[in-house]
């Protein structure tokens, strides 16, 4: 059964997708983010390529609008890097949908990605892809299921290999130095 047939499915959804992406501009404009029509086409084309590379097929409205909605309020995304960030984010999404053996729902993966992107990764998509997602999906493949209770929130700390800044300790010391 050839994968070409699944491309037919992608193409039939495309017109609907352009309309959805257009409507997303209305939601993202208050964050100073919007996509021009040619950028929407490029994003969709990039998404199609990603699906092919990662051997996946979308059967409904796709994930782009959810990615946009999840990341539009990010402190690390601005109009200059908006398109590029979306392209990279959707590629990371499909990559780790496979890496998690389809055990995680779309929402769980996006929640995890957003949380790490904003905190541990400090806006670095390569770090998100190469470290956070790798470590976490390895745990999922090994049988970890804690993300199901939290929807993907607050999961990375136990798998983080890097000793990080202890916020509570910092506040404690600050208090001792200046208030006590």
């Amino acid at each position: 059964m050839k994968e070409d047939m699944f491309e037919i499915l992608q193409l039939t959804n495309q017109r609907k997708e352009l309309a959805i992406l257009s409507s997303m501009n209305q939601k993202t404009e208050r964050f100073g983010l919007s996509l021009r029509e040619e950028e929407m086409h490029e994003l969709i084309e990039c998404r199609n390529q990603s699906l092919k590379v990662h051997g996946r097929v979308e059967f409904g409205e796709g994930i782009l609008d959810k990615i946009i909605y999840t990341f539009c309020d990010s402190q690390y995304i601005n109009q200059q890097n908006y398109l590029q960030s979306l392209e990279k984010l959707e590629d990371i999404f499909y990559e780790f949908k496979n890496a998690a053996l389809e055990l995680m729902t779309d929402d769980e993966i996006l929640t995890f990605m957003k949380e790490q992107f904003e905190t541990v990764c400090a806006g670095d998509l390569d770090y998100l892809e190469g470290t956070c997602m790798e470590n976490f999906t390895a745990a999922v493949r090994a049988g970890y299921e804690g993300y199901k209770k939290t929807g993907g929130r607050g999961q990375y700390e136990q798998f983080d290999e890097v000793p990080r800044w202890d916020k509570d300790l910092y506040m404690q010391v600050l208090k001792e130095l200046f208030w006590e």
Binding site: E58, F59, T105
Partner: protein
């Protein structure tokens, strides 16, 4: 199949959404392929059923054909269950582990694991015990239903013979048959019964003395394989009619040529 890819893809898409409980917007190619095979399997079931009731001219849309086919698949799985429950009431394994494990352990696993909705084409089991007649092109619930129908028929056939006689025959064929016999149990019974018919001995006792064995061997010697097959086919057909009575289906003659080759290559009666 009368449906184009453009009609099948939306059906697959709906099935994929159901498969992921609406929690994923994409599936892997492997998953999509399996789901498409599920759609095709069910639609073919619908088309086959429609042909059977002379409704070939009535064409329904892909989704309707799929749902109808799915109901037919469920029905076939239920039919298989009914055959199985009938069969195991007085099931006799004659001490053969492969037969016992396949029927008593393997088949229940099918009813537990069979996924009529998302993978109806997967019959789950390897069916290690071979029945005499099973088409390789049949899959899913169809395969299990056909298998059990054949197995039930063969079990009824075998139970017409004295139990000890069958066991003694199996031990004669292979002393360690209990754990190491992987062929169909009817084969030695059919060959021996044919020998009894040629030697004019009581078929149901499955006993053949030296004279009878020589007579039977001579009956198949110095003739070409086709003639041997035809002769054996005739004997097996008579045997099947006699033993099975009204339930006769004429299946044993289909293995006559293979068994005749075995006989002509030295297989003992």
């Amino acid at each position: 199949m009368d449906y184009k890819m453009e009609e099948l893809l939306p059906v697959m898409a709906k099935l994929a959404k159901r498969y992921t409980s609406g929690e994923s917007t994409s599936v892997s190619y492997d998953t999509a392929r399996r789901l498409m095979e599920a759609v095709v399997y069910c639609i073919k079931e619908c088309e086959t059923a429609n042909k059977a009731v002379m409704l070939e001219g009535q064409r329904v849309d892909g989704m309707t054909a799929y749902e109808r086919g799915y109901r037919i698949v469920l029905d076939k799985a239920e039919q298989a269950k009914a055959v199985y429950h009938r069969m195991i009431l007085n099931f006799e394994d004659y001490g053969c582990q492969n037969y016992r494990d396949t029927i008593l352990k393997g088949i229940p696993a099918f009813f537990l694991k069979y996924d009529a909705r998302f993978e109806p084409q997967n019959h789950v089991l390897t069916l290690d015990y071979p029945v005499l007649k099973l088409s390789d092109s049949v899959a899913g619930a169809d395969r299990i239903l056909d298998y059990l129908t054949e197995a039930e028929y063969e079990q009824i056939f075998l139970q017409n013979f004295n139990r000890e006689a069958v066991i003694n025959l199996l031990e004669y064929v292979r002393p360690d048959y209990g754990s190491l016999y992987f062929d169909n149990l009817c084969i030695p019974v059919l060959i021996r019964a044919a020998g009894c018919m040629i030697g004019d001995e009581d078929v149901y006792s499955l006993k053949l003395d030296g004279r009878g064995e020589r007579e039977a061997a001579a009956y198949f010697s110095e003739i070409n394989p086709e003639t041997a097959g035809n002769r054996l086919g005739g004997l097996l057909d008579i045997l099947e009619k006699k033993v099975m009575g009204e339930a006769y289906r004429g299946i044993f003659r289909n293995c006559a040529h293979d068994l005749a080759v075995r006989i002509q290559n030295g297989s003992r009666f």
